[in-house]
């Protein structure tokens, strides 16, 4: 069967020789929502950057059956929507409208369709009234949503998000959660937010020091205290002792 994302023995080292990925194998079926967790420096961002060919190392990366190589990057980037960790990096145009329109415009779509897609993408993230605002004067949560809109406007099959809830207040976070739950695309989301993982992703992959150390049902992994401890993670649930202490305090 054709996988949406397939990584075969992917290795990557930085310019200075530091290994970032040491043989990653991963297969994600179309429509699956997978969380990618691990400590800082595990290689999560590096892995995501391989999905649309921004970084390329050894091993094979396939998106929807097509191998990611120099020749088909144009097509790959229409299929993979990558949302970076820092929305400031994603928003490089003067206004929100122009940022969201960049992708469709580059694809060569007719103007009427570009406008339609921008309106639709902004509506999806609840930012329709922000079309004429200056991108970098928005709040963190607003910027994150616009960043997602910039990618949605291209109607990709696969969404790769890097720490989408980092820096968001609870309200913005819940809004983002609801949005992600609605979207039909295949998703691979790198995150530290274990509650997000528990609420949204049936499957979790644990990455540490450039290797996949666990890959399975979320419930399973989150119950494994030793695993969480060993790889710089924590359970989203409060321990019974802590809960008792909190209750006693009030």
């Amino acid at each position: 069967m054709e996988y949406a994302i397939e990584l075969e023995n992917v290795r990557f080292a930085y310019h200075d020789g530091r290994p970032a990925l040491r043989g990653v194998n991963l297969r994600i079926a179309p429509g699956e929502k997978v969380a990618l967790v691990g400590p800082n420096g595990a290689g999560k961002s590096t892995l995501l950057l391989h999905l649309n060919g921004i970084l390329a190392g050894q091993g094979r990366v396939r998106i929807l059956g097509q191998e990611v190589n120099g020749a088909n990057l144009g097509w790959i980037r229409a299929q993979v929507g990558l949302v970076f960790q820092d929305p400031d990096d994603q928003l490089f145009s003067p206004t929100v409208f122009e940022d969201v329109a960049f992708g469709p415009l580059h694809m060569g779509l007719p103007e009427a369709e570009v406008r339609e897609r921008v309106a639709w993408a902004l509506a999806q993230v609840g930012m329709d009234v922000f079309a004429d605002r200056i991108s970098h004067h928005l709040s963190q949560g607003e910027k994150k949503r616009v960043a997602i809109a910039t990618v949605l406007a291209m109607k990709p099959e696969v969404l790769a998000l890097d720490e989408p809830t980092a820096g968001l207040d609870p309200r913005a976070r819940r809004g983002l959660l609801r949005l992600l739950a609605r979207l039909p695309q295949t998703m691979l989301v790198a995150t530290h937010d274990m509650r997000l993982v528990a609420e949204l992703f049936p499957r979790t992959v644990v990455l540490d020091a450039g290797q996949v150390v666990a890959d399975g049902p979320t419930g399973h992994l989150l119950a494994d205290e030793a695993l969480l401890e060993a790889h710089g993670l924590e359970s989203p649930y409060l321990s019974p002792e802590r809960r008792e202490v909190l209750l006693k305090m009030s």
């Binding site: 144009g74 980037r77 970076f84 928003l91 415009l105 580059h106 694809m107 970098h136 291209m154």
Partner: protein, 261 residues
Amino acid sequence: MHIHLLDQYHTGRSSVHRLDARVKLLLTLAFILVTSLTPAGAWLAYLGLTLLALGVILAAGLPPLLVQRRALVALPFALAALTVLFTTEGRPLFTLSLGAWHLTASQPGLIRFLSILLKSWLSVQGAILLAATTPFPTLVVAMRALRLPRLLVSIIAFMGRYLFVLADEALRLHRAREARSAVIGPGSGGSITWRARVTGGMVGNLFLRSVERSERIYNAMLARGYRGELRTLSPPRLRPADGVLGLLFVALLALIALLGW
């Protein structure tokens, strides 16, 4: 993710590395001055200067081809002197016709132009040598010690500190753009005017962010007691060896200068 901007400084323990930064700065300036003032066509002097630079490169333990190749970055700017080729009086060499214009290159013009190219190349080599053998913070301290204006030194110090930050940010913006540059058919890519406008917007964006970042940095400095002067520690005392090497270099330069005139 960091941009792999080649850090100019090459670690080493050679005599050139250990030479006092103030002396090095002054010697570099003297080298550039002599190079610029050497008359056009003084090929022996140019040879002398090239050998002098090469000598320092080897003494510092740097790969000579690397320094000389990097110095070629000056050449596009030196091409501004191309007009000299056509405006100097003298024996005509060849003529270029551009529509109604006829440009005649002269032999003295060619000599002058080649001299300018060589001089730019040599001067930049001097600057590269200085940067390669002196860590940037040491250079800043040396500048202050040589009584360069406080404001100028602060600007240079901050530029050195934040150039890499800006380069990283520019790289990330570029990546974000690449990630959304999809090609699905023959119509993809956008016109060149559109692409140019997007690039212009990105540059403006980067500028605005830098200005806002500078505000935040200023606040951080104020919070730590900054009141307008960047204080640095004093440089170590001048050693006799520094003086000797300095004088030796100046003597060689003077010799070459005499050759030139």
